[in-house]
């Protein structure tokens, strides 16, 4: 397993590129599918990421899993599953390389200087105009606070949107300890969003990988039945 420090990559594409690079592979669909496992194992290091960013990492994990299952299960080839991750990765790499060149340019510190406003010599004194009254100040302050509202409220919404993988795994473990046997449909009954479904599915796969769960599906697109591995 290749280890990469969390702070060293700037997004899911950067992580993916680094994993491919470390195994000295070219950017192809096959090499992308090959690094899926190490990509997913890196998700655990991401707990302290900003929730919005974390969900981008999870969406990428889901795309990788679809690609990988497409490679393994020929049945999918008939379907029109088209994910241009390879193209996206190549484009991203072009800009990443360009950004390194720009970083070199900035490091040279060849700043250009334009004219600056001459400093005005001001003596400090307090001379409020007539319309500055206690009531006006209060009004202005309330107005300002109100303008800040959307800034403060949005992060909370984003936070609610994202569910950590670890949390979902715990939830799933608790879920099967009660039920012994259940199905994916049952598990997704209360799912609130797309990322919720993706994370639940990832959590299920993770538990299968850890051999805590056994899953069964009688035919294609049937509900997936899972039970505790004893």
């Amino acid at each position: 397993m290749f280890k990469i420090k969390t702070e060293k990559f700037s997004g899911p594409l950067d992580l993916l590129l680094q994993l491919i690079d470390q195994q000295q592979l070219d950017i192809t669909e096959i090499s992308i599918a090959q690094v899926t496992d190490s990509y997913i194992s890196h998700l655990e290091q991401l707990q302290d990421k900003d929730p919005e960013e974390l969900s981008d990492f999870l969406v990428m994990a889901a795309r990788l899993l679809v690609m990988k299952s497409k490679a393994i299960l020929p049945i999918f080839e008939e379907e029109e599953i088209f994910d241009d991750l390879e193209a996206q990765l190549k484009i991203y790499k072009e800009f990443l390389d360009a950004s390194r060149k720009i970083a070199e340019m900035i490091k040279l510190e060849k700043f250009l200087y334009s004219r600056i406003k001459p400093a005005i010599d001001l003596s400090v004194e307090f001379s409020p105009s007539d319309n500055i009254t206690a009531e006006n100040l209060k009004q202005s302050f309330m107005y300002l606070l109100k303008k800040l509202d959307p800034l403060v409220k949005i992060p909370q919404k984003l936070f609610d949107k994202t569910i950590s993988l670890q949390q979902k795994i715990l939830h799933l473990q608790a879920f099967i300890s009660h039920a012994e046997k259940s199905s994916l449909k049952e598990l997704l009954k209360d799912a609130k969003s797309k990322s919720d479904i993706i994370v639940s599915f990832l959590a299920m796969l993770e538990l299968v990988k850890q051999k805590q769960l056994i899953v069964r599906q009688s035919k294609l697109f049937d509900d997936i039945i899972f039970e505790k591995n004893k």
Partner: protein, 190 residues
């Protein structure tokens, strides 16, 4: 005559001047003047300064012009003005800035499609630092780099960036973005 007037205006101004505002100033005394004429004279002036080896250069970004000192004398002026800025940016900021510099004016969804990750915070930071500007109305905002960015890099136009022509129009990228857009439209229809 017109060229020297424009040169004087640019010299007297402390801020970068947009070709449109130069035109508006000149129109007051010359009602017959055409905007295209002003634009053409600005371009001529830009070429004139690019070809000279003076201590002053003309920079241009998104139709905004400004006189600055030349990159050859950076160290001297840095010392003279006691400027203690350093040339460093974080990796995510650099990536975002690079995309905006080569692709600008570019929308937030496109930037995020290329980087594969949400860019709200980084864009806000770059706006605060004055390295990028946003034009248009939410949610149709388009980002481009500012004259401040050019001055930070020591170039007179984004066209001086390495491989500018190649990355400004990347064929794969146009196709890739078109595909993504088609996909999104399809999803909306469902």
């Amino acid at each position: 005559m017109l060229r020297s007037q424009i040169e004087s205006l640019l010299f007297a101004s402390i801020k970068p001047l947009a070709s449109r505002s130069i035109f508006n100033v000149l129109k007051k005394s010359q009602p017959e003047l055409k905007f295209e004429t002003v634009e053409q004279e600005l371009k001529n002036l830009f070429v004139e300064y690019s070809e000279s080896s003076r201590g002053i250069v003309l920079i241009e970004s998104e139709g905004q012009y400004q006189f600055t000192t030349s990159a050859d004398n950076s160290d001297l002026i840095k010392q003279f003005l006691k400027d203690d800025r350093s040339g460093e940016l974080t990796q995510p900021s650099l990536e975002t800035l690079t995309i905006i510099a080569y692709r600008g004016p570019v929308s937030k969804p496109v930037i995020e499609q290329i980087r594969g990750v949400n860019c709200s915070l980084i864009l806000r930071n770059l706006l605060i630092r004055g390295l990028v500007q946003a034009d248009g109305e939410e949610p149709e905002l388009f980002f481009s780099v500012t004259p401040e960015f050019l001055k930070y890099l020591g170039i007179v136009s984004v066209k001086e960036l390495p491989d500018y022509e190649k990355l400004h129009v990347v064929e794969n990228l146009e196709q890739f973005l078109d595909n993504r857009q088609a996909e999104e439209v399809q999803e909306l229809k469902k």
